[in-house]
Amino acid sequence: MKLVYFASVRERIGRPEEELDLPADVATVGDLIGWLKGRGLEYEAALSEPRAIRVALDHVHARPEAKLAGVREVAVFPPMTGG
């Protein structure tokens, strides 16, 4: 699965995107964030505040309970500050 990161999440993880094979028990957005946090200190720093993390699945905002099955691109980023 392709993961893309933006803004402070991108800077803290240290890369804009990566291809990852998810374990079978990572089924939802919430599962994914929890699993990513275990991948290293840079991920833990980027994702330490769950309320400050947003996720989009294939360009659509998603809640923690959203399923990952069939998704091609997951984006992880902080709350938006455009406009």
Partner: protein, 152 residues
């Protein structure tokens, strides 16, 4: 009412007058045209520039969804959203919203809705580059979430 929607995500500047003219062109039932231009402030002369990061693909898709929702909720004939990305200096434009409608309330409310929604939903992030000292990512405002919530 079929609304003409125009969405653009671009690095370069936009021409507000041209966009406003296009949003009302070819229709004789437009009674109100509203434009909102978001401008980069210099924050008391401390800011050298803003850097706007965006999520290509999703930015256009989300702005389209927001415009479609405005067109479904208000009787507007046109809605335009143009959002810039990249380095933007104080005094430069960041975002443009244009709405056109037979009626003033619809045009004004739809423009306000578009700004409130894009602030909290469109995937753009601002980083501040000050003249001196450390800059950093702009923190999201709770007041922006509240502004978006009021349309629910």
């Amino acid at each position: 009412m079929a609304a003409a929607l125009r969405i653009a995500v671009q690095a370069g500047p936009f021409d507000m007058a041209r966009e406003a003219a296009a949003a009302r062109a070819g229709r004789s039932d437009v009674g109100a045209v509203v434009t909102f231009t978001g401008v980069c402030r210099d924050e008391g002369r401390t800011l050298a520039a803003l850097e706007l990061e965006h999520y290509p693909g999703m930015a256009e898709a989300e702005l389209t969804r927001i415009a479609e929702e405005a067109a479904a909720r208000w009787s507007i004939t046109a809605a335009t959203i143009i959002h810039r990305f990249g380095r933007i200096a104080p005094g430069e434009d960041i975002v443009l919203v244009v709405t056109a409608s037979p009626h003033r309330a619809a045009a004004l409310e739809a423009a306000s809705f578009l700004m409130d929604y894009l602030k909290t939903r469109a995937p753009f992030w601002k980083k501040e580059h000050p003249h001196s000292g450390e800059g950093g990512w702009v923190a999201a405002k709770g007041s922006d979430d509240e502004a978006a919530e009021k349309w629910k």
